[in-house]
Structures are given as C-alpha cells and as structure tokens.
C-alpha cells in the first residue's frame, strides 16, 4: 500500500494549523480534505500499518467497502464544514475540527478494537472543544456533561474490549454479535454514541450549544462513527430493530414542541439514526444497504440543515422559533437551500432521502415486521412535519419577526450549495452511491408506486400541518425547556445529592444541639461551683486553710490513739 492511513493527513494538518495563522491557516484547512481525498483514492483494499503494542498487533488501516464508504463520506463532510466555516478565525475551533475529523477517520479505518478505542476517545475530546468554543457558560456545562457521557462510553468500550481480548486472545474488529457480557458492554458503548433512547440526551444537550459552525461538524462524525461500528459489529442483532424503531418515534414529539431550531434538528438526528439502527438490526443485504446509504445521505442533508440554521444564528444571533420568522426576505438563498435540505430529509422524490430511507422500510416489511414498518412510516410523516416543514417555516416564513439582515456570507452559501447539489444528485442519480454500498443493490427506488405512495404520504402530512395551523391547533413556538431523560442527571440526581448533603448537615446540627442540651446542666453546675461567684473559685483566706489543716491533723491524732 502506498497511501497513508487517512487520519495521518488530518492530524498533520492539525499540527500545521497550530503553527500557522490567518489566511495560511485557512489554506491548510482547505487543503487537508483535498489532500486526504487524493490519498483516499489511492487506498487499496486490505490491511496495513500494523503496530505492535505489548502483546497485541494494532491495525491502523483496514480498507474494505464499508470503511471506504465512510472514509469518503467523512472527507466530504469535512470539506463542506471547512468551506462553511472559512470565515472563522479561531485556532481552537480550527485545530479541533481537523483532530475531530481525523479521529473519525481513524476510527472507521481501525482494524482492531484497541485502535478503535483510542480514536474513540480522541473523537470525544476533540469534539468537546467545538462545544467549548462557543465560550458561554451554558456551552461550558453542556460540554462537561457531554465529556462525562462520552468518556463513560469509552470506558465501557474498553472494558468490553479487554474482556474479549482476554477471552478469545483476538482484538480484531469484525462481527461481534450479541453473546455475553462483553458484547453487551460494547453495544452499550456504541449505543451511547448512536444516541439510543435514554442515552440520547448528550446530543440534544450539547449540539445546540456549539458555535454556528461547530454543530455542522458535530452532526457529521460522532453518531456516524457509531453507526459504522454497529454495522460492523452487530448486523442482524434483533434488539436493534426495536431500539431503532423507538428512536425514530419518540424524538419527533419533542421536535414538534422544541423552540431552539438547532435542538429540533438534534432531535431529528436521533430520528434519522433510528432508521439506520433499525436497518442494521434487520441485517439483510437490503436493510444494511439502506442503513449505510441513509447514513451517507443524512450526513449531507443534516449538514445542510445545520448550516442553514448556523447561517441564521450567525446573521441574527437568534435561533429560537419564537423569535424568528420572515427571514426569506433578507436571506432568500439560505431559505432556498434550507428547503432543499428539508426536502431531502423528508424523502421527497428526486431528493436524497427518498432513495435510501425507503430501503429500510422495504426490508422491514419483507422481513415480516409490519408494526415496525408502521412505526417507521409514522416517523417518516413526522420527520417531514418537524424537520421538513417546521424548520424552514418558522425560520424563514411563519410571520414577519421584523428582523432584517444580510444574506449569509459567500463561503456559507457555497458550502450549502455544494451540499444541496449532492442531495439532489443522489436523489436523481442514486446509482453512484449504490455502487459504493457493501452489498450489490437490486433495489429500484423510482417505481411509479413508490413515487406515488411517498408523495401521498408527504402531501397529506403537509395538509395536516396546513389545517392545524389554519385552525389554530398548532402549538405555538414558546420559550421553555422540555423535560427529557436528562432530567435524571440534571435535576433528580443533583437534587438527591443536594438532599443528601442537606440531610447530613441537618443531622450534624441536630447532634450538636442534642449534645449541647444534654451538657447544659453540667455546664451550669460547673459554672456554679467554678464560675466567678462559684464556691470553689472564691478566694480563701490563709487562716481558714490553716484552720482546716489543723482540724485534719487533730482528727488524725484522735484516730491514731483510738
């Protein structure tokens, strides 16, 4: 093999970015994904770059169809994100970006579990800096919670890996399957990063707190590394079917009532991840192809949506649906590009979601899971509702918020334009994407039935929105926080912890009071005798002392003679 492992290019770029400044650093950033892509194109299938660590051989580069597709995707996502953030002059963000993308590439090309673990941890730490870079108090605490959860997932992964290594002597990262405690630990670690239900709040907590540009990168890498790892380790694991279906369902309810539009997108991300997790659980060639192609399309259209909201936040300083509206007047291009992303995530015919998500649905019905299929359909209508309509509607239309601003900067428009082109290209001509998938594709998205039924589903979902809105039944955008699973660690546990501290303090106070009460008579008695007026503290005349001594001696004399 003549190529380097892809992460090397990005890490070297990060080093260069530390040493340069201004335009030179921007050039380094732009060059990295391009040089990386050239390097990627020269990769041949197979494994290489083996490093000896104690008794284990680490494989830093393993190229097959699955890792190559994710490698390509991450290069593309990094390039789009870097173009989008070209105006940013912030060394922390620029360096963290390259380290983060590099770690994601390291993880998907890792041939063994220990290498995977190492990049897994770099991924967590580098990405945390993109949240910290917002430099607000809220972002700081969100980043801390994010780190605690990510690192805990890493520890679980390491524990599982060590158990497997100890048991089988092999650390190769291949099919793991659900078999024994170690595999469950690893699934839990992957599941945390993939935002499984109840483990998902780090995503909705931290992503919306990042910078306008940081969230674009965050949305691309972490969860997709988890999808890759699940596809590699747990294809066909049945619980994933139901976990995935649950993931498509519950976030859409939160998305409808959430006010922060980037948090709406974060919930919508979990919903999209649900389709992938479900496909991996189904495990057939069609389902895995669906999951992987949807991961590819999701990175691009979710980046596009986060970019459009990032542009809104950058220009207006606002991101709450309750404060926005009517921005199509000042940002028409951003609005149009946002609608392309919205159409793609909603799986409109001719947009990218249409050609990938439907594979998972088809596989669900083929494999005899009609209830799961209905859930996925419900979620498909729901995603159109909250991501397809709500995001563009409340930001760009709805009502005139009075905000007049400028169109997004050129580099932002350019990045959004690239992403939109990919969305439409994959929607119109899916065969290129299909040719890169792990299994040969026999699926035809553009049958007249599929186009018709999907169009019906979406148009009538739009009709429902329209009527709910016209009849005033649609919940207005309100400022507020919606309680989710994070309540446990953000409210209940601190309250319980605070309660425990308060209880201990009260117990201590009670003990002190009790002792003091019990000691009061004693203290009073001592005071009575030894106090200033106490009998024992009184100055005694020397004469009385002599008298008592004489008396004692006399008593002794009497006793002696008796």
């Amino acid at each position: 093999m003549t190529s380097l492992p892809p992460f090397v290019v990005f890490f070297a770029g990060a080093l260069l970015a530390v040493l340069t400044r201004g335009r030179a650093r921007a050039a380094v950033l732009l060059a990295v994904p391009i040089v990386g892509a050239v390097n990627l194109a020269a990769l041949a299938e197979g494994s290489g770059f083996e490093v000896q660590l104690l008794d284990y051989t680490l494989v830093l580069l393993r190229v097959d169809r699955l890792s190559f597709l994710f490698g390509l995707l991450f290069h593309l996502a990094a390039f789009l994100g870097i173009v989008f953030s070209l105006h940013v002059r912030d060394r922390v963000q620029e360096v963290a970006t390259l380290l983060y993308a590099g770690a994601a590439l390291g993880a998907v090309f890792a041939g063994d579990l220990i290498t995977l673990f190492l990049f897994w941890e770099v991924l967590a730490v580098a990405s945390a800096f993109l949240i910290l870079a917002r430099r607000t108090d809220r972002a700081y605490w969100a980043a801390m919670r994010y780190l605690v959860i990510q690192i805990t997932a890493g520890v679980l992964l390491l524990a599982g890996v060590l158990m497997i290594a100890n048991h089988s002597g092999s650390i190769a990262f291949g099919f793991i399957g659900l078999d024994g405690l170690a595999s469950w630990l690893i699934l839990l670690a992957f599941g945390t990063k993939a935002a499984f239900p109840l483990l998902h709040n780090w995503l909705t907590d931290a992503y919306p707190e990042s910078t306008p540009t940081g969230t674009v990168f965050l949305s691309a890498f972490t969860t997709k590394v988890a999808v890759y790892a699940l596809a590699r380790g747990f294809p066909g694991a049945e619980p994933l079917i139901y976990i995935g279906a649950a993931m498509t369902m519950f976030p859409i309810f939160f998305a409808v009532i959430e006010n922060d539009l980037r948090r709406v997108l974060a919930y919508s991300m979990i919903n999209q991840l649900g389709f992938m997790v479900c496909g991996i659980g189904l495990g057939t060639a069609l389902a895995i192809n669906g999951a992987i192609s949807h991961a590819f399309n999701d990175v691009i259209f979710k980046s596009l949506l986060f970019m459009s909201m990032g542009a809104v936040l950058y220009r207006t300083g606002k991101i709450n649906g309750s404060e926005l509206g009517g921005l199509y007047k000042s940002m028409p291009l951003t609005a149009g590009l946002c609608i392309v992303g919205a159409a793609s995530i909603s799986a409109f015919p001719l947009f990218s979601g249409f050609v990938s998500k439907s594979m998972v649905l088809a596989a669900a019905i083929e494999e005899g899971h009609p209830v799961v299929w209905l859930a996925l359909m419900f979620a498909s209508a729901g995603v159109f509702h909250h991501a397809g309509i709500k995001i563009p509607f409340f930001a760009f239309f709805a009502r005139d918020s009075g905000i007049r601003t400028e169109e997004a900067p050129f580099n932002m428009l350019l990045a959004m334009g690239f992403a939109a082109v990919i969305c439409v290209f994959n929607g119109v001509y899916p065969w290129l994407l299909y040719s890169l998938l792990p299994f040969p594709v026999e699926y035809h998205p553009y049958t007249i039935e599929h186009v018709l039924t999907q169009t019906q589903l979406l148009l009538f979902a739009a009709l429902a929105f329209c009527w709910l809105k016209l009849f005033g039944l649609y919940p207005p955008e309100l400022r507020g926080v919606n309680i989710d699973a994070e309540w446990v660690y953000r409210k209940a546990l601190p309250a319980a912890g605070g309660g425990a501290v308060a209880a201990l303090a009260a117990a201590r106070r009670a003990a002190v009071d009790q002792t003091r009460r019990a000691a009061t008579p004693l203290i009073a008695a001592v005071y009575r005798h030894h106090g200033p007026a106490g009998i024992l503290a009184r100055p005694w005349p020397t004469g009385s002392m002599a008298f008592w001594a004489t008396l004692l001696l006399a008593a002794y004399l009497v006793l002696y003679y008796l």
């Binding site: 019906q456 979902a461 926080v481």
Partner: protein
C-alpha cells in the same frame, strides 16, 4: 419597519392562499392518481385505497395533538436547569 419597504412575496395574502390551494390541488391529484396506477401491496393494509394519504394525515394529526398534551406535562421555564 421602513415605510417604503419592498413588498415581499408572502406579504400579499393572496399569494399565501395560492400556496394553500396549490397544496389542495396536489393532494387531490396524488389521491386521484391512485385510481390509474395499479399498486401491488406487500401487506394487506397497504393495499387499501388511499392508505398512505390517510396514514400520513392521521400520523401528523396525532403527532401534533399528542405533542400539545405532552407540552403541558413536560414544559418548564427556560432556566429550569440553571438554578
């Protein structure tokens, strides 16, 4: 806002109405097309006339109405986690 601000597309309520009528028309066409297109169904429910249309409509209705109720239960002030 500025007094002589340009009139934008949706400042005219007629244009909003046009969009809504356009949607109605599209819905009618999509539903009507089912009379012409022969569908084969993998699952019995799927074969019912207008299944996707009805399901999409009801799904969104349920979603929004359930979310409205959920809000009563789950919504707190913006600084709920801050104090």
């Amino acid at each position: 806002m500025a007094e002589r601000e340009k009139e934008y597309l949706f400042d005219d309520p007629r244009n909003v109405r046009r969009v809504i009528y356009g949607l109605y028309a599209a819905c009618a066409v999509a539903l009507g097309a089912e009379l012409i297109v022969a569908r084969h169904a993998e699952h019995p429910w799927e074969g019912l006339f207008g299944f996707y249309a009805v399901y999409g409509f009801i799904a969104c209705l349920l979603l929004v109405l359930a979310a409205r109720e959920m809000r009563k239960l789950l919504m707190r002030g913006e600084d709920y986690y801050d104090d």
